[in-house]
Symmetry: C2
Subunit: 130 residues, 2 copies
């Protein structure tokens, strides 16, 4: 399969797929006579695997670990568990942070919703001291 077909199949852009190759996430595919990349079905499956991981916002370094488990390079799936656990923990922390931010911004939003002279805007005033 050519890169454009993979792109359509996975929803990743062509640039992204090339980027994954350059980052060592996927093996360098065979090339046609004209130099076009030619992906076999294993490669396609790997790329789809990666796309699924990215849709869960798993960072590339972590995906590499998952790929090691997937390929059987790792002897157990412990690393996969670790990756998911860590990601989930970070995500939950992040959500808490964002909720705090939401409160702060909502508070800020509430203090002025008119078109005042800048000097009188309580948003700006609040941001001075907070």
């Amino acid at each position: 399969m050519k890169i454009g077909e993979i792109s359509k199949k996975t929803g990743l852009t062509i640039d992204t797929i090339r980027f994954y190759e350059k980052s060592g996430l996927i093996k360098r595919p065979l090339r046609s006579e004209s130099g076009y990349r030619d992906f076999n079905s294993d490669a396609v499956a790997a790329i789809e695997f990666i796309a699924h991981c990215r849709s869960l916002d798993i960072p590339i370094v972590e995906i590499k670990k998952l790929l090691n488990v997937r390929s059987g390079t790792a002897k157990s799936c412990r690393q996969a568990n670790e990756v998911i656990n860590e990601q989930l923990e970070k995500l939950r922390i992040r959500i808490k942070e964002l909720k705090k931010l939401e409160k702060s911004l909502a508070q800020l939003q509430s203090v002025c919703n008119e078109e005042l002279d800048p000097k009188d805007c309580r948003i700006i005033q609040s941001l001075e001291s907070l």
Copy 2:
């Protein structure tokens, strides 16, 4: 005030303050004979304002708009309201996305918490197809 003092006062790193200067967020300060930056109290207030905005995760381009309102360059505070509204909206969308992600990851976490042979790990299996 020298940059190190500002740094301690605001909690921003020295690099960050220099970065704000380079990005045009703050005016270039006067220099002492030896070439050290020397910030006056207006500059300090501006930097604190920026620090407060960043603590709310407002991006630098948006902070520029707020600074225009703050300085009275804008005639009303409409832009400030817009910035806060937009940020809040984006934030709420982001929180929703992250909650979905959390569900997905939690689901994934639940399917395997052992040390299995990689072939048998349901985390990996799930990531194949999703």
